[in-house]
Amino acid sequence: MMTYLELTDISKNFGNVVAVKDFNLSIKKGQLVSFLGPSGCGKTTTLRMIGGFEIPDSGTILLADEDISKIPPNRRGIGMVFQSYALFPNMTILENVMFGLKMQHKPKKEMTSIAEKVLDLVRLQNTAKRYPHQLSGGQQQRIALARALAIQPRVLLLDEPLSALDAEVRVALRGEIRRIQSDLGITTVYVTHDQEEALSISDMVVVMNNGLVEQIGTPQEIYRKPDTRFVATFIGTANEFHGIVTDSENVKAGNLVIKTSGLHNFSIGSEVVALVRPENVEVFDQKPTDSMVNVVEGDVDTITFHGAITRLGINAGGKMITADVTITGRNILSYHQHVWLSFNPEYCKVMAEK
């Protein structure tokens, strides 16, 4: 498939503050791409540049091969959904949804039929005559989505659309957004600081930090093969073992010698950090056989129940290690219990220290 939306060397400063630097991204038609990062990382600024609400200091934005960098927002044909819903309080739901169509001078009949269709899409047909304040937050955001979809936008932008909603609604609505997006095949850019949200609905995730792109990849790539330490620690949780490379596959971290799947990119003696996800740490209540590698002894310090998994904090000679386990009836752990941990070298991601 050909590139549909292309951002090339985009930079934006606010005074002395670098908001976005040398941002490059190609999005194919129909993809849902998330910008993920902590607040102030430049994700919203980039989104606003696509929408036309900020003008890049340098670089170009191509939409279907047309340079839209300097076109005002009202002539870009790009729909936007805001964190605060931004429904027009003086208009009914139907008037809100028809607003964009009115701006396009569509005939009344067509407007009504499109409005009905999009209200149907977000499953809120019966709210047409009500005012925004009469709806719940989740309903208002669905109307905002319907309003943006009514103009049949070339690109749909969602700026932290679920941040103002409570957890249950958030999960339900993100599923709905994804369903509608893929049904309509609408190219979508989604900004969020919630990694779970980004990983669960995106075709592609752009992880940003301090105005720079850290990594672009599928959710699986971002989670399993982080390119940078920031990505590894920002997405999910990771145990960090700081140490020195001793040979082609071992890292010495304090008293521990960690076996990895290979350290060919590092010279002996270089300072590295080995990262292991909690779900890749196995926990045993008896000493495992000698054939196992990367075995660490420790005592259970914290137990936090998360439903499907239980997260253990294990004190291994002063070093805290996090492990996620699925506890069934037969292996219930207790506080201060002595345990053995092990992790496969395959799951050990090594990165340079600095």
Binding site: G79, S84, L87, N90, Y131, A148
Partner: protein
């Protein structure tokens, strides 16, 4: 807060509110009574009542001329104020936030500068035809003088609504600047515009100093006629005062009635936040 709202007012609270209302309303009642009193200096209540004051006031050839002049001046001030203040405050809120402290400061000045000083300064500076001592200059002066009322009302209303986001939402849906203002912003700040307009209208209608010093007898306003009568006959002056604030009230009610729908919707919108 909830318990404070629900509990009945104490007798002390009722007393304080009662005193306040009495303090505010007594001069108005006194003026009404005085305007229909024959003689009221030897007894607690007037010795007799008649409508002679009103008859005499309305038969004065200047009565309707000054009334018309004051209405024209008030309406013109409201219109100029709307066209100057509303877009300015809007742009400051949306684009030029750094200018807000400066504007806030400027809006205190009309309260700090006495009307006399403003009037004399304007007469000095605009001492050329056709501006000099014209109703045009007077309108400009009353607009400056009443600007804080319009500015404050509109600015507070703008602050209560998320204007920048609503603007961007409208733009993303294809609205140009006119449509953003006309269909989205103005309906949502209508209560502020309305209360600002009422304050400007009422203030200009009762304004004496600026009118007296800038245009003088050339464009006699209602308060000028009223002041003339205070030197001749207190009863007639009282009658004119009554007419003056009755007009202000009627105009207020008319504006409120005519825009009933707008207010209802906007109140809902603000209530939603």
């Amino acid at each position: 807060m909830g318990s404070l709202k629900k509990s009945k007012p104490s007798s002390g609270q009722i007393f304080i509110v009662g005193i306040f209302i009495f303090y505010m309303i007594l001069p108005i009642i006194a003026t009404y009574i005085f305007s229909i009193a024959t003689r009221w200096d030897r007894t607690i209540l007037p010795e007799g009542y008649s409508l002679e004051g009103y008859m005499e006031a309305t038969t004065n050839p200047y009565f309707f001329i000054t009334l018309k002049n004051s209405l024209v001046l008030s309406v013109a001030s409201v219109l100029v104020s709307l066209f100057v203040v509303v877009p300015t405050v809007y742009w400051v809120h949306v684009k030029l936030h750094s200018a807000k402290p400066l504007l806030d400061l400027l809006m205190i000045l009309p309260f700090g500068i006495p009307g006399v000083v403003l009037a004399l300064a304007l007469v000095q500076v605009y001492n050329f035809q056709p501006i000099s001592r014209s109703p045009l200059l007077l309108t400009a002066a009353t607009v400056v003088f009443t600007m804080p009322f319009m500015y404050r009302s509109v600015s507070n209303n703008l602050a209560a609504v998320d204007i920048p986001t609503l603007t961007e939402a409208a733009q993303s849906l294809g609205a140009n600047t006119f449509n953003v203002l006309w269909r989205v912003i103005i309906p949502n700040i209508f209560p502020g515009i309305l209360s600002g307009s009422l304050l400007v209208f009422a203030t200009v209608f009762a304004e004496f100093t600026l009118a007296r010093l800038i245009v003088g007898a050339g464009f006699k306003t209602f308060p000028m006629l009223l002041v003339e009568y205070t030197r001749k006959d207190g009863t007639i002056a009282a009658g004119m005062s009554v007419i003056s604030f009755t007009i202000a009230w009627i105009v207020s009610l008319l504006i409120l009635w005519a825009s009933g729908k707008g207010i209802k919707v906007s109140r809902e919108s603000i209530g939603a936040r």
